[in-house]
């Protein structure tokens, strides 16, 4: 039997309501190429990632094929599968697609990544994979800016909990662990806001790896301007000190 491999699941089925754009934001151009192509390029070049699954909206499968996969020639993208109603449903669909290979041990690690985070770097993936191979679950995070507050039920200000960090992607897990956690969540009707929350709910410990303030999530139109700035200013490799700070990286 060959060595088990790491597979990346890239979630691209978001509706993008907050961007108010007419197309799914993953297809919006960022410094000359679609947002989703940036992270696919990182995974394509990364030696420890053997395969990539893209999860897209049913109505956008062809668009994804014609605008991204064919023109950029991503060889590691093996499958394009249909996403669900929510992010949680889409990652579940991705894991179920891999279920048999996870259970027979041919896939040992799964990376789950939001296609709207274009600035993942090879060194961040290295750190996450190392940590996940040793502890089973690793996510990139950055310390929160000090102006995050929590709302009381009637919309009034309250202090946010201490030790707050903003979670990013890719989130990396031992494949069997994340599949089992998701299957349990599915049985219980639980939907997490990220993959880690599903694993946390299953009682598993999740390690935090230093992320980067530049690893922004492109959600609203201001993020697209930030994205253009980062794309222009960062070195070709994508490595190097963060250009944004906790203050300037959007919420």
């Amino acid at each position: 039997m060959s060595e088990p491999v790491a597979v990346a699941i890239v979630l691209a089925a978001g509706a993008g309501k907050r961007m108010a754009a007419t197309v799914n934001k993953v297809f919006l151009p960022l410094a000359g190429k679609p947002i989703i192509a940036w992270s696919l390029e990182c995974f394509e070049r990364h030696p420890q990632i053997a395969e990539v699954i893209v999860v897209a909206a049913a109505a956008e499968l062809e668009e994804c094929r014609h605008r991204v996969l064919q023109p950029f020639g991503f060889k590691k993208v093996s499958t394009l599968i249909v996403g669900g109603e929510t992010r949680h449903d889409s990652e579940f669909n991705g894991l179920i697609h891999l279920e048999q290979r996870i259970e027979d041990g041919s896939i040992d690690l799964v990376l789950i990544h939001d296609a709207v985070r274009p600035f993942v770097t090879a060194s961040m993936v290295d750190r996450l994979i190392d940590e996940a191979r040793s502890s089973g679950a690793a996510i990139p995070c950055v310390p929160a800016a000090d102006n995050i507050v929590q709302a009381l039920p009637r919309g009034q200000l309250s202090q946010a909990p201490a030790h707050l960090w903003a979670a990013q992607t890719p989130q990396v897990f031992a494949a069997r662990l994340v599949l089992a956690a998701h299957q349990q969540a599915h049985r219980d009707g639980f939907k997490g806001s990220d993959t880690s929350s599903v694993v946390e709910r299953a009682g598993k410990s999740v390690a935090v790896v230093q992320g980067s303030y530049d690893n922004i999530k492109i959600t609203t139109s201001d993020d697209l301007i930030r994205g253009e700035q980062i794309a222009r200013a960062r070195p070709r490799s994508g490595e190097g000190p963060s250009l944004l700070s906790a203050e300037s990286a959007s919420a």
Partner: protein, 207 residues
């Protein structure tokens, strides 16, 4: 409580004593300094009477106390950071209107990421995203109870407080009111470029 938006509002812009923060206020965006952009937006709001720029004292609370001692009469005070040049008259009017029914209100934007409580490199919990907001350091409050709260906080010897902690320690509830993601602070040169692009693209809430 139950203030009318037509009541007189004093805008107070506290400056920091930090030299780097001061320098950032002099950076220019389309030929005007960061501070000018901020002040000009406030001057265009009919509900705002006077705009006071507060010189820094030895701490934030004393800065506010010193400024209020000589500030003109007003029913409400609007605190606003000086380094948010993309604040707009339209955005501030809308904020003051929505805030009118509350003794105090703060401008916020919803967070976009999932936030975790992290201890010793491990996730302890996930905070429900719909409960978390990012403060934009714009606060409006009834003047009289605020001044009492401020004096009380100063008497307690708190040197690390600000207008928010003064309200909270006096039990003045602060309502959260949505602002704009473009009302961001200038913290680096990259932010100046961001502001220039946003203005060229017309993404600041006019005027």
């Amino acid at each position: 409580m139950g203030q009318s938006v037509t009541q007189r509002t004093l805008a107070l812009i506290p400056l920091s004593s930090d030299p780097a923060s001061k320098d950032r206020l002099l950076l220019t965006i389309q030929g005007r300094s960061v501070l000018e952009w901020t002040v000009d937006a406030m001057r265009m709001v009919p509900e705002i009477g006077d705009v006071v720029i507060a010189e820094p004292a030895s701490n934030r609370l004393l800065t506010l106390r010193q400024a209020l001692d000589s500030a003109p009469v007003a029913d409400r005070i609007l605190f606003h950071e000086p380094n948010r040049p993309l604040t707009s008259a339209a955005g501030l009017r809308s904020f003051l209107r929505d805030a009118a029914a509350h003794p105090a209100a703060a401008m916020v934007v919803p967070v976009k990421s999932t936030y975790k409580e992290v201890v010793d490199g491990r996730v302890v919990s996930t905070i429900p995203r719909n409960q978390l907001y990012q403060l934009q350091h714009v606060l409006v409050v009834d003047r009289a109870p605020f001044e009492e709260a401020l004096d009380s906080t100063i008497r307690q010897g708190r040197v690390d407080g600000d207008e928010f902690t003064a309200c909270q320690s006096a039990g003045i509830p602060i309502q959260l009111i949505p602002g704009s993601y473009f009302n961001f602070p200038i913290a680096a040169h990259l932010d100046v470029e961001f502001a220039e692009i946003a203005l060229v693209k017309g993404l600041r809430l006019a005027p």
